[in-house]
């Protein structure tokens, strides 16, 4: 066996198996053909066994349109008929009880009292896209955005629907989209995690860390929670009373001891990897806080993201951090709008007006600022921005009184922008009242396939061997990307 057939002193097959394995031929070929992949690895003392950093950057199997993804997760489920899916026929039905099949938190129903859309829509941009008055700022970006109005998912219950949007399955235990992306592409920046998650100020979403879990993949591919201010990463800062020179002293002596230990164990490349990991950690401590230091940003930029206004400052900082992380080569950034329970997120069961006014008010300007800032910096072409919740909301009221809407996984809207997605396009439709997707329907798997496709993967080929199967984000049967958008 030639040395080129070996990874880390193991055969390819073993390497793949031990690292959790199961790259399909395409992904493997991509990994191996990446010029410099091996050269980037430090070599262990025997000269044979490269230190394979599981997060080392890897070339995508096919030419990629997008390098990074920013997934703006509107947790709780925004109402599509009140935001981007214009339903003129729904307004006059307000208050009328009609026959319509719905399935939400309140179970399956065959009729319901219509809640007419509570905001006016008006056309924007060259494409003339109708957008509700909840999003006047995003309205100015519609020529860069592609709307999918015919999304559907397998569950109208938050916990399982969140897992579906994040991992493609309603059961926990499967890796999230960000895990798949870092598994397939590694990370361009070893000073920052490759997959980061920013939570809402009110808390995490239902099921918490399951939403950024790497499931059956190694923990290196799980999402890291990062804060948009202060110390961005847990355990990044030394404890009280320890400064950087002191920690360096400790690391220097630790390194000496570890090198002595390794001297008679040179064949074990894990030992070298672990020594290197302390140096990487030390570098992270210096470079990661720089990512959340907004001192170099102009007042105009801060204002663009709404950081100068109380209502939008929090989400604005997160959107700005998202751009700064993209600039620093972070692959997958997920930003939650909404946390915890009830009206702390988009879950408007009682009063759609107060709920959506609050959440759209906090996010409209920052997201528009993000799109504009990415575009003027030439980053939008290689950054795929995705906006959506785990489902949409019903056209009818949940309760006898009030304007609240129950969950709706039969039909809802997501939009994407940048990263090789056509702008000013809308695909798919729900029925005339927005109760369910009818034409050009797209499952969550198709959304995932579209994201993987833009990143340079064949969605059907990106796989990981587990439990006797080549597991895929898009399921064993695979899924098509949304061809109308690419």
């Amino acid at each position: 066996m030639s040395h080129q057939d070996q990874f880390c002193g193991r055969t390819r097959r073993e390497f793949l198996w031990e690292t959790g394995g199961g790259f399909t031929a395409a992904a493997l070929a991509g990994m191996l053909s990446a010029d410099g992949f091996l050269a980037r690895q430090a070599r262990a003392a025997d000269g044979l066994t490269p230190f394979v950093n599981p997060l080392a950057p890897k070339a995508s199997p096919r030419p990629a349109k997008a390098k990074s993804v920013i997934f703006l997760f509107m947790y709780g489920g925004p109402s599509h008929v009140d935001t981007f899916d214009y339903k003129p026929d729904l307004y006059p039905l307000d208050g009328k009880t009609i026959e319509v099949k719905t399935f939400g938190r309140g179970g399956k129903k065959n009729e319901g009292r219509v809640v007419g859309p509570k905001w006016a829509f008006r056309p924007y941009g060259e494409c003339g896209k109708m957008v509700s008055d909840l999003f006047p700022n995003l309205g100015s970006c519609v020529d860069d955005m592609a709307f999918v109005h015919s999304m559907y998912a397998d569950s109208p219950i938050h916990g399982s629907a969140m897992l579906m949007m994040n991992s493609g399955r309603i059961l926990s235990g499967h890796p999230c989209l960000g895990s798949w992306v870092t598994y397939g592409l590694g990370s361009e920046n070893q000073d920052l995690p490759g997959f980061v998650v920013m939570l809402d100020q009110t808390g995490g979403p239902i099921s918490g860390p399951k939403n950024w879990s790497s499931g059956y993949m190694p923990a290196v591919y799980q999402g890291t929670v990062i804060r948009a201010d202060g110390v961005p990463i847990h355990d990044l800062a030394p404890p009280k009373g320890v400064d950087r020179p002191l920690q360096r002293r400790l690391l220097d002596r630790l390194r000496e001891k570890n090198e002595e230990h390794r001297a008679t164990r040179a064949e074990n490349s894990e030992l070298a990897a672990r020594i290197a990991s302390y140096e990487l950690a030390f570098r992270m401590q210096r470079h990661a806080p720089e990512a959340v230091d907004y001192g170099q940003e102009s007042a105009e930029t801060l204002s663009l993201y709404g950081i100068d206004r109380a209502e939008t400052a929090d989400f604005g900082r997160k959107c700005l951090l998202a751009r700064r992380l993209v600039e620093r080569g972070v692959r997958f950034i997920q930003v939650y709008s909404g946390g915890a329970h009830n009206d702390d997120n988009w879950d408007a069961h009682g009063d759609i007006v107060s709920n959506h006014t609050k959440h759209a008010g906090r996010t409209d300007l920052p997201i528009a600022g993000l799109l504009k800032d990415l575009k003027r910096r030439g980053l939008l072409d290689e950054t795929l921005v995705v906006w959506g919740g785990e489902f949409g909301r019903q056209p009818t009221a949940e309760y006898a009184e009030g304007t609240g809407r129950d969950h709706n996984s039969y039909g809802f809207t997501v939009w994407m922008a940048g990263g090789g997605i056509k702008g000013g396009v809308s695909v798919g439709t729900t029925d005339e009242i927005g109760a369910r997707a009818v034409d050009d329907r797209f499952h969550v798997k198709n959304l995932h396939a579209t994201i993987l496709d833009r990143l340079g993967f064949d969605p059907d080929a990106l796989s990981y061997f587990h439990g006797g199967l080549d597991q895929k984000l898009v399921g064993v049967e695979g899924a098509e990307p949304i061809h109308q958008l690419i």
Partner: protein
Amino acid sequence: MLIRRFFALGLAFLAASSPIRGLAEDFAKAREILSTRCLKCHGGEKTRGGLSVAGRDSLAKGGDLGPAIDADEPDESLLLQAIRYEEGLEMPPSGRLPDDEIQALAEWVAAGAPWPGGEGSEEVAGADAHDEEEPAAWPYAQVERPAVPAVEDAGWGRNPIDAFILAGLEPDGLAPAPEADRRTLIRRATYDLTGLPPTPAEVEAFESDPAPDAFERLVDRLLASPRYGEAWGRHWLDLVGYAETNSFERDAAKPFIWRYRDYVVDAFNRDKPFDRFALEQLAGDEVAPDSVEAQVATGFYRVGLWDDEPADRPLARYEALDGIVANVGQVFLGMTINCARCHDHKKDPIPQSDYYRLLAFFIDMGRQTGLETRKVGPERVEVMAAVSKGRDQAHVLLRGNPALVGPKVEPGVPIALGEAPTFEAGRGKRRALAEWLTDRRNPMTARVFANRLWQYHFNRGLVPSPNDFGTLGEPNTHPELLDWLASELVDGGWKVKRMHRLIMLSSAYRMSSRPSPEALAADPQNRKFQRFPMRRLTAEEVRDSILAASGALNDKAGGPWVCPPIPDEVLAGQSVPGQGWTVSPPDESARRSVYVHVKRSLALPILATHDAADVDASCPVRHTTTVPTQALGLLNGSFSNEQAATFADRLEAEAGAGDLAAQARLAVLLTTGREPSADERARDVAFLRSLREEAGLSERAALVQYALLTLNANAFLYID
């Protein structure tokens, strides 16, 4: 039933409007529809679900779900079910076809699906390879005790294991690595059997024990320790996917499920024979309904995910059953029967009916919830045990879809394993299954468990994919040794401690982990076990060893779980921070990791970063990853810093305040089991001094930093 009614209606409609039989030319439109609507994914660019619509033959052959057209009952053809958007199958997925196109296809199928030239032009794709396989090839062949091989070097081996290992080395001119020194051996054996480091006194006693049976007595002492069951019980908990909450939105705690964890720990400590261990877990409620222990054992069935608010109730029920079938298949049989849920296994001789015949043993349990308990035994102990409800009939589910009910099936075991008894549905069937699992005629259970014993001792199985002995698994490096171990296991009455002794008292187990240059060149991956494989501590061992070094470890065994503190920044990821994690008092928080609450949606950071088992499925092999976040946690995290302070207290108390050399010696001894060399000690002392003299730390603060350093060292984290 619903589907049947639908078909009856559809048939009546069709009978009025369709011709009896037609010519191919009459149905050009139908084929056109197939071509424009379906071919791209089914036979064109892709062949999704194994189905091609490119010809009549390929439609008749069908895909993973079976034939797409049914000549005998055309209107029940899968093709028509799919395009009609009947429950579960919706094709094309982008939207239902117009009614006239559906009708055109229905008429064409009813007319016998005529195709120009009679047949499709392309070859029939997707023929499964395993149809023609001969039965009973490895790994399904009977276990026959192999002869112990003859070897040239008769002096090295202590027992037959060594002959098998040596027989693999000698043809390559390789010699086994020399015996490891005493300090290495006691550290290796103590971690191996107890998951904890040896104390300095134990190290010294063993090192100075001149008796030839010193190692034997060491192994016996460790096997008798209650810490043994905690370490080996943890392995079993990995395999069954043990967790104490239900996942999903509420991730509620499973009441009293910790009794199952204690049952597993006790079973290992008391050397319960593995056949009995299997029987109690699979059928304790049937075998000994009045025994608390046997009832608790059936908690095996209760550790999985449970959706209290499923979007699709029948599907949720089968998901729960799938967890059980996957576990029984992989954990006991080393077979990925779970891959045959939707269609025949792609690579192994496991037809889809095998999955549902195995499921039939458990079908009564599909409705148990993640919360219910019951009181058992004379003392009415509250337990979370198997719940059998109703007497359901099992069916094959087409494509694994509960809405597409196929033929009835009776309980049965995989056909690849050859002759098996007939199993009766009804009470007692799980007992019969458990008895068959450990019957000599079933080759898999003993092989699979013997392989796991080897794996946990040697850090890699003889079959390196211990849950999958099939085609997609990794090849067996030592088939004869494995069958010999399996024979020993069964012949020895399935006694596990006896197997530990056998393996650990071999010369192979006592080898040094240092390779010679020749061995490294010839076998860099150590596939032949020329040397003992080094390994990193597991997640639990990392945390428990830190507690052991600092002296804080509370070795109280058993009982309800404990919740050590988790930093607020980590709790912030929960939708209600701190929910389901009521922090235990400090002494309880310092208990072994096997007693730490296993909450599916929240993990203790030090365990999660060091590759603890993912609990949503069986975990056959722990990952070992090396990333900077582990270093950050051990350097800066609150747990390691608090323990470093406690460790410093201990060093001051036991080595004497101010005696830097004695403190350094003790710290190295407690974290590595070794005496530091004079040079190492001198440089550690110099480091301690420099912290005071150059960095301006107090004596105490300097010692805390030094203690933290020793808890970060590779010599602490790795075992030779």
